[in-house]
């Protein structure tokens, strides 16, 4: 028929979507080099031609005038996200292995109900949890601390780890761990010596998802920390006041999404190798 026409249509669709995806980043990039003059005169795009570029927005992130110091929130964000992710992966992997291999029964509660309980935590809107969490952390003296946030984030990320790892372990033949036990391994040894070394792809996928969801949380960081601890999203949104410094905002936005964009490359590699398909189903 008209393969050329279809091919053109296909590329057109891909390019239009690409433009939509890229638009906010391009806008943020150009805005980050503007000053108040470049913004208030209406939308401009091309530096030098339409406005005079300045590094003011970027400088303001590192203690420059009219901005924020982004370094400390950055470090705090990394500590909280990575810490909560690793704890969630450890607990989640263990629980998922148990749920995949053993039959649990307590009254009418069975394995599928326990899995559902884990996953159902994702249904809770942050707002439902915010006030009790606030009181709980206050009681524990962990309000406005990284430890407090890590505890809260575990509740958010553990369901993700369990969800991905249960599916993953269900796909690993049981015969392998049975064999290890017949070879003299206790269930722990079977898990650590045989199952775990063969589960790295699944763990990587789970870890990435935890990192993404942890890094991107705003609401809990917003309600449970104030001054001593400040995570990146909170610090940036704080700029979003009535007189918004668009330039600082744009620069900080770009800098904060950068590490996760690197993860996109990593996800794509797992995806193209088919690893993801095994882990998400």
């Amino acid at each position: 028929m008209m393969p050329r026409f279809y091919s053109a249509l296909k590329y057109a669709a891909v390019l239009i979507w690409s433009a939509f995806v890229l638009a906010p980043f391009m806008w943020a990039l150009t805005t980050s080099f503007k000053t108040a003059n470049g913004v208030t005169g209406g939308p401009t795009y091309l530096p030098w031609i339409q406005y005079k570029p300045s590094l003011h927005g970027w400088e303001s992130l590192f203690g420059g005038a009219g901005g924020i110091d982004i370094v400390q929130p950055y470090i705090d964000s990394i500590i909280v996200t990575v810490g909560a992710s690793i704890i969630s992966i450890v607990l989640g992997t263990l629980a998922a292995y148990g749920l995949s291999r053993f039959q649990y029964r307590a009254g009418f509660v069975k394995n599928s109900d326990i899995v559902f309980f884990f996953i159902s935590q994702r249904i809770m809107p942050p707002i439902v949890l915010a006030i009790p969490f606030f009181l709980m952390l206050q009681f524990l003296g962990l309000l406005d601390t990284k430890t407090g946030l890590i505890i809260v984030y575990i509740a958010l990320l553990l369901p993700i780890a369990v969800w991905i790892m249960v599916d993953f372990f269900d796909g690993v033949p049981r015969a392998v761990d049975e064999m290890a036990m017949l070879d003299g391994c206790t269930p722990f040894e079977a898990f650590f010596k045989v199952v775990l070394p063969n589960s790295l792809p699944g763990i990587l996928v789970a870890l990435m998802f935890c990192l993404i969801f942890g890094w991107n949380d705003f609401f809990f960081a917003f309600t449970l920390t104030f001054t001593d601890t400040q995570l990146l999203p909170v610090a940036i949104v704080a700029l979003n006041s009535s007189v918004t410094p668009w330039w600082s905002l744009s620069a900080s936005a770009l800098i904060s999404v950068a590490p996760l964009v690197l993860i996109a490359f990593f996800v794509e590699r797992l995806l193209s190798r088919g690893t993801l398909a095994g882990a998400i189903r």
Partner: protein
Amino acid sequence: MDQPEFRFYKLSFLLPGLLGLLAVILFPLFFTVRVSLSGWSAVSPGLDFDGLANYRALVSDVRFWQSFERLAGMAVGTVLIQYILGFAMALLVWREIRYRRFFRVLFLVPMMTTPVIMSVIWRTILHESLGPANDFLGLFGLGPYPWLTDGSFAMASVMMVEVWQWTPFMFLLLLAGLISLPREPFLAAAIDGAGPVRTFFNVTFPLMAPVSIGAIIIRLIEASKIMDSVYVLTSGGPGTATETAGYYIYIRGLKDFEIGYAAALSVTYLVVMIVLLTVIAKLLVRTFVGRGT
């Protein structure tokens, strides 16, 4: 492996995670239920006992139920759009296309970015006079449009930002599904003489049914928590035009400080969501997969 010898091990695997989660979640849950039975507010702080008064009040709270309807419409609408666009993009970069891996990375990027931060950027883009959105449409003689200040436009804006942010998630799950599909059914369809359209409806789509259901349910769960973008873009406004259930609870709880009432709203919200999502999941499984499996 359900012999007594395994009991110690089987509990050791499950309990750290389960108890950990229970410890973190159980207090908030019970606390919320308890608070919902109290009249805790800015005026009278404290855990008194008010019976079902809050629940009685919320039954006739039109604003709450409207925000619920709005949430349902928004969640279902955005997820549907995300599904269609995500599936389309996944199909496009699945096989024969140049720079396939580049596009795959690019299409994943939005989900990696922090929703609240990107919403801030979107707010500048949609700025009526200073943002590029109206400037761009102006090239075609359209607009300017009140993106964030008119009810319907604000709704569309929030949904567009949600679609931008979360279509990649759908795209990721569906593309992972597509990549894992066996080759034979497609060869068989080609040999049977099926064209691209027939192949899609008879091979690709049915094979993708389980992945589709999973992806839609996950996205519905996440979409029902829609919050960050509303908070940044419109703060529920103008008026209550973009107020979702979650946002309404936030206003009653953390802004008006009617803690007891907000807790009752939360409990109601949770129950409704769990019931709704379970029903939707069952329905999806039935329509996509059919009975028996």
